[in-house]
Structure formats: C-alpha cells, structure tokens
C-alpha cells in the first residue's frame, strides 16, 4: 500500500484518466483543456465570421431580397431583407463573439494552457481542477451568449461595448432578454477568465524547472504571464460593471440611467445615474482586453521568427521590458476611447500622452522583429509565413493608432470606419495570424503529424491579401467621415457622393472570398489530423524550448516522471562552435562552447 501511495506521489500529479468522460470531456489535463479552448474558439470564429458576412451583405444590398436569408431568419430578415435591428444584432454578436470567445480564449486559454506548462517544465498547471472549471465556466458563457439569438426580441443591439442607456432600457430597443443573456454570459466569462489568470500566474511563478530563471523564459511564456496579470486585474472590473448594468435592467436600480429620460414618449422612472460611469468601467477593462488579445500573438511571433530565422531574438531583454511596459501602460490609457464623450479636456490630454507612450514599446517590438530576421537564414515554413504576416499587419494596424491617440485628430476619426480598420487589423487579424502561426507550429507536437505545407501556404497567401483587401479600404471610409455601425449608407448624402458604396462593395467581395478561404484552413487541420506526414523526430522544427524534448504527443504528465533541467537561454540559435545550429534549453551546460548561457 505504501508503495502505491509513494509512486502516486512521486510520479504523477494526478492519475491518468481511463474513461472517455474524464479523459476528453471533464479532463483536468492542461493539454486536453487547451485543445478544448481551441475547439471552442474555432466554433466561435466561424459563427463570428458568418455574422460579419451578414453585416457586410446588409451594407451593400440594404433592400435587395435574398431569399435564403428569409428562410433562415424569418424574423430578422422578413422576405429576405434584413431589418436594421437585425443588422445591429449581428454586429453586436459578431463583436462579442470575436473579442471574448475567440481572441481571449484561443491565444491564452488554448495555446497558453497547452504549451506554457511544458515550456516551463511542469507536469501540469498549478491547479488542474481549477483549470477545468475555468474552461467549463467559459463554455457555459458561450452557450449563454448563443442563447441570446433564440430568445424573443433576438440578440442585443447595443454593440459589444453595450453603452447604457441604450443597453439598459428596453424602451429604447426592441427589448427582450437578449441583453440580459449577453450580460450574464459576460459575467460567466469574467469568472472563467479570472480563475484561468490566477492559474497561469501561479504556474509561471512556482512550477518552473530548475535553472529556468525569469530571464530565460521563452517570450511566449512571458506574454502569457503578462496577459494573465492583465486578465486578473481587468476582468474583475468588467464583472462589477456587468452586474451593476444587469441590476439596472432587472432590479430597477439607477447606476447608469440618468433621471428625466423620455424614450419613445415613455417617461423612464429612474434618477441620477451616469452613462459615462459605465464607459469608464468598461474601458478600464476594455483597453487591457486589447492587449490580452494581442500579447500572446506577439510572443508566438517572436518565438517563431527566431526559430526559423535561426537567430536569437534580437534584444531579448528589450522584448521582455516592452511586453511588461505595454501591459502596465495598458491600464492607464482607457480614456482615449472617450475623447468625444465630454470628458475633461485636461484628462483627455493626459490620456493622449500616455497612449502615445504605448507606441514606443510597440515600435521597439517591431524593430526587434525585423532585427531578428536581419542576418538570419530564413526557413519559409508556413508558421514562419504567418509570423511575418503578423509583423506586417501589426505595423499597419498600429500606425493608425497614432492618429486615434491624438484627441485633436480623433475628434474627426472617432467612431468612423478608420477606427474599425485600426482595431480589426491590430487586435483582430494580427492576433488571428498569431494563432494561425501557433496552430501550424505546434500541430506536430499536438498530434504527431505535420500540417500540409501546400495547403498552409495557399491559405496564407490568400488570407494575407484578403485581410488587407478588407480592412485597408476601411481607412478610406474613415477619411470620408463614414460613421461606424450604420446599417446602410443611403440616408446620408455625402457618403454616397464620396464613393462609400463602391468601397463597401469591394470590401464585401473581399470579405466573402476571404471567409471562404478560411474553410481551407479547417480542411487542412482535419486532413492533416488523419493524413498528415508523421513526424520522425520530437523536434521537427529544430527548435530550442522544452516542448520539443518531450514525447510527441506529450505523455499525460508531460515529461514521463522526469523534469528537465534548464542550462541555456531560450533562443540559442547558430551559436558559433556548437555542433548544430541550435542549442536546446536543457542541453548540457557545455553544449554552447562559445558563450555562457544566454542571460
């Protein structure tokens, strides 16, 4: 008996599950949970893309009957013509689905969950059961959000930012339970994310392998760690705000609803609330949320660029400090979302200076990425292509932030398509490219088979061009002062005169093609799962970090009872005098003769 207990103690953190339910569904294995998060994100991203197509169709053909839509959505699109409220509902759900269920889940909960414990040499996350709880809370949140489509009144129409009083008063919309379900879903999501963030932080702080100092962490781990801290501090605020708004809707309180309102000639029985208060609370969460979405993508990009350029990351320390600086500054710039809300011009100026300061670490990262490529021997694998694409998109999406961060210029661009172009490129598409890169890079470790390079490359070329074709022209819509969230352009004369319709038409076509191309990615994943080339080595990319020394796919406890010791920095490529052009982190201390370990 004592033997069994001891073995149990020493070798396994938790016994290997034996039945289907504990192995694949209610698993506490971080690898299974990571895959679950990724599957959730893939489902959500296809729903989100379908919603965006509806939005695009409505913009181009506002009153042309599309028969199939009439059949699919008899209420939202009677006789095939989408109503303006249906348009807004699709827009709201598209934003919510993408920001929360895709951009927050996959980079952190998905890849972070699977890779982080292995990269730091741990057998699992610090709290495996809590990890499972995080995922299933997030799943409940997803189901609750989807339920909003099917209640009377349909999905909410107040946008993903849910500004009250529009989101608080049924009299101002079609009403129904859509907005309540939305808020409930957000509350669940916050709880799931808080638990997840806690787990990531403790895991990174406590379960690192011997010799793995903080300054030897792969940049991926750094970004997941900083993202977790952002999540821990941001989601609590959104939870509070969401609960208050839910009480305004259901409990008759007046946190955000001012007095003396007259909505559609109905006097509203509330007093004294402040709609601006919601905006402060929301954006205090909302801005760090942008970095929650993009930081893991930055980490994956740095990681992959170094691996396939066969060079150490250029300025590793600067990269770490930049990530920390972006995270810290992310908490003091929320006001730049509110330049036009009537805030004090003095605080507007302070927010502006702080916002522009974020441009500095972002610029450092960009230049260091190019510096990493410079002088390398680049291997153009599919994950490398996605990562180079990420850098290009990050520059394009980031540079428009310089316009929007200046209040004087923002007074013109605020709430126009310029903003839509900006945040889609930087937090949407760039982050998604980070995820594409992550899937292609780690797929062989996940499943023991390579993804098809051919399909991957076709997908990259088409998607790279496609996203630029979609979001590039939106800048021009912003220049001609096209306000966002307009169901059609026909009611404002200057839009049509300045050429908005032609641009919209082009964008919609590009969107339809690009969305179709995404099926190729799905086909590639499924095909490679069954027919992909089997990996012949545990380290097919000749990379350096710890996930490449474990079995493929990794064992239940990752390192089969052993824990690697780390002797080297994370990106020891092309070390002069070393036998190969890479030195793995757990190689013997004398494996890199030319230099001491990379600190």
């Amino acid at each position: 008996m004592a033997t069994e207990v001891a073995e149990h103690l020493e070798v396994h953190r938790h016994p290997e599950p034996t039945n289907f339910w504990t192995k694949y569904i209610f698993s506490i294995d971080h690898k299974v949970i990571g895959i679950q998060y990724i599957i959730l994100a893939i489902v959500a991203v296809f729903v989100g893309m379908a919603l965006s197509l509806l939005v695009r169709l409505r913009l181009v053909w506002p009153d042309k009957p599309i028969e199939i839509l009439g059949t699919l959505f008899p209420v939202g699109a009677p006789e095939g013509v989408m109503t303006p409220e249906f348009y807004l509902a699709m827009l709201t759900m598209h934003g919510t689905m993408m920001v929360f269920m895709v951009l927050t889940t996959a980079p952190q909960g998905g890849f972070g969950n699977y890779i982080l414990p292995i990269q730091i040499g741990a057998a699992d996350m610090a709290f495996p059961t809590l990890n499972m709880l995080s995922f299933w809370t997030t799943f409940v949140s997803f189901v609750t959000l989807c339920a909003a489509f099917f209640v009377q009144g349909g999905a909410p129409i107040a946008g993903w930012t849910a500004y009250p009083p529009l989101s608080a008063l049924d009299e101002a919309t079609i009403g129904g339970y859509g907005q309540d379900l939305w808020l409930l879903s957000i509350a669940f999501f916050c709880i799931g994310s808080l638990l997840g963030a806690l787990n990531f932080i403790v895991t990174t702080l406590q379960l690192r392998a011997k010799g793995l100092t903080m300054m030897r962490l792969p940049l991926t781990v750094w970004t997941w760690f900083v993202t977790a801290i952002l999540g821990l501090l941001a989601f609590g605020v959104l939870l509070s705000a969401g609960v208050l708004l839910l009480m305004d809707r259901l409990g008759g309180t007046s946190f955000f609803i001012p007095g003396g309102l007259l909505v559609n000639d109905i006097p509203i029985d509330h007093t004294g609330g402040s709609p601006i208060l919601w905006q402060h609370l929301f954006w205090f969460f909302g801005h760090p949320e942008v970095y929650i979405a993009i930081l893991p993508g930055m980490g994956v990009t740095s990681h992959i660029l170094a691996t396939f350029a066969r060079k150490p990351v250029f300025g590793y320390k600067a990269m770490v400090y930049a990530v920390v600086a972006i995270g810290a500054l992310g908490f003091v710039v929320w006001g730049h979302h509110m330049f036009v809300s009537g805030m004090s011009p003095y605080s507007g100026f302070v927010f502006s200076v702080l916002t522009m300061c974020i441009g500095v670490p972002s610029a450092i990262k960009t230049f260091n990425w190019i510096g990493t490529l410079w002088g390398g021997k680049i291997r153009f694998t599919t994950p490398m292509l996605y990562s180079i694409g990420f850098v290009s998109l990050f520059v394009t999406g980031g540079i428009s932030g310089i316009f929007l961060g200046q209040p004087s210029v923002d007074l013109f661009f605020h709430d126009t398509y310029f903003v839509v172009a900006h945040f889609h490129l930087i937090m949407g598409v760039a982050a998604i490219f980070g995820m594409f890169a992550g899937v292609a890079f780690w797929f062989p470790k996940f499943f023991g088979r390579m993804m098809s390079e051919g399909m991957g490359k076709v997908h990259f070329w088409l998607t790279f061009l496609g996203v630029y074709a979609i979001f590039g022209p939106m800048h021009y819509l912003g220049v001609i002062a096209h306000p966002r969230r307009y169901a059609e352009t026909t009611s404002v004369d200057y839009l049509g005169a300045a050429g908005a319709n032609e641009i919209h038409y082009f964008v919609t076509m590009a969107a339809m093609i690009t969305v179709t191309v995404q099926c190729l990615f799905l086909i590639n994943v499924v095909w490679s799962l069954f027919k992909g080339k089997r990996v012949t080595s545990d380290n097919p990319w000749e990379a350096t970090t710890l996930e490449w020394v474990t079995a493929t796919p990794p064992a239940h406890d990752n390192f089969e009872g052993r824990i690697p010791t780390v002797n080297h920095g994370p990106y020891e490529f092309s070390v002069p005098g070393a036998p190969r052009d890479y030195v793995m982190q757990c190689n013997a201390p004398d494996a890199a003769p030319a230099r001491k370990s990379g600190e």
Partner: protein, 243 residues
Amino acid sequence: MHLTQHLRGSLANKAMGNSTPATLEQPSLVSFSEHQRIDIDTPADGEASGLGNSNPATSDFEALAVHRYKLGVSVGFGGIIMIFAALTSAMVVRSGLSDDWKSFGLPSVLWFSTIALLVSSFTVEKAKRALRNSNENGLRTWLAVTTVLGVAFLVSQWMGWLNLTERGLYLAANPSHSFFYVFTVGHGLHLLGGLLAVGYVTGRVWCGHHWVTRSAAIEAAALYWHFMDVLWLYLFVLLLVWR
C-alpha cells in the same frame, strides 16, 4: 524513511526505463534533474496517514503545496480587490455626480456581524497554530468554532437585509441602498466561498482524515478568511462613512 528514499531511486530508474529514449533527440545532450518535483492534488486518504510529518519527502512536498496554495489565494486577492475597487469608484462617482443620494442608518446588527467575523479571524489563527503544533484536538475545536462564527456572520447579514426591507429600503429605493446591497451581497458571496472551504476542511478533520495537502488547504483557507475579514472591515467603514 529509508523505504521512501529507496523507492525514489527505483522509481526514477523506472521512469527512465519507461520513457522512450529513442524519441529524445540526442539524449546524451539532454539533462534531466535527479530530483523529482512532488506535486499532487488527488487526496490520498486514510492509508496515507502513515506518511507523517516526520517523512522528509512528504514535508518537502507539504511545504511546496502550502506555498502554492497560499500563492494561489494571494493572487486571487488581486482579482477580488479589483472587483471591489471598481464598485468603490462607481459609488464615489455615483454619489458625487447626482443629487438623489439619501443617507440611511445601517442596521445595528452589522456591528454583531463585524465582531463575529473579527473573532473568527482570531479562531482560525488559533486553528493554524494548533496545526503547526500537531495539536489535533485544538485544530478540530478551533476549526469548528470558526465555521460556526462564519455561519453566524452570514445569518447576521441576512438579518441586516431583512431589517432594511422591513424599513422599506429595497434594492432600487435609492442608490445608497443599491450600493449597500451590492457591497454586502458581493462580500457575502465571497465569504460563502470561504465558508465552504473552511467547512470542508473542518468536516474532513473531524472525520479523522489526514490527506497530503491538508496543511496547505488549512493554511490557504485561513489566509482567505483573514482577507475576507479585512475586506469586510474596509466595506463596513466605507458604508458607515458614505452611506
């Protein structure tokens, strides 16, 4: 003690044997640590009681687990602090911006709540001391007292809400009441979580269970309990000043 040492060695060998060196690229270059990290979440009840505190492997493991659990709880404080910081700033802004704010007398039963919670913080500390001194009887008693005081706190809060509703001060009556309910219910829910944790360890200790993460669970629950106490003191003062 020797048995465990011996087991360790043989297990390490076994693990090496089980693994597939062929899959490790150039295994000679890969260094693995001799020392195993010991982590476990699955409780090993009853039978494990043979592994007392005298066992170096177990105490090593316990120290790690205590650290991890306490770290987890402390990190969690960050999230909880942000929740209540957001609500506090909302209250400051909401009361400052409007002219509809009406003060009201807090239910006097809250003073009883406060005292109960303060005393429970003291008793949970006593329980922790008893645990460290391997005083099983003391541990049981003080944990039980803490649980009872925790229940008393929640009952007392309930009476406070009843008192308000009897006075006609419902959730939506005035923003000052709204915030009172939000703060007290929010704290109550967090405390309920702590109470479940304390109740759980109390129950298991009373049933005579020794499980490997026992001290970690008790230390973490105690830490969380103290935090709930401090949080309540903060909220109570806030509500007294700003009601």
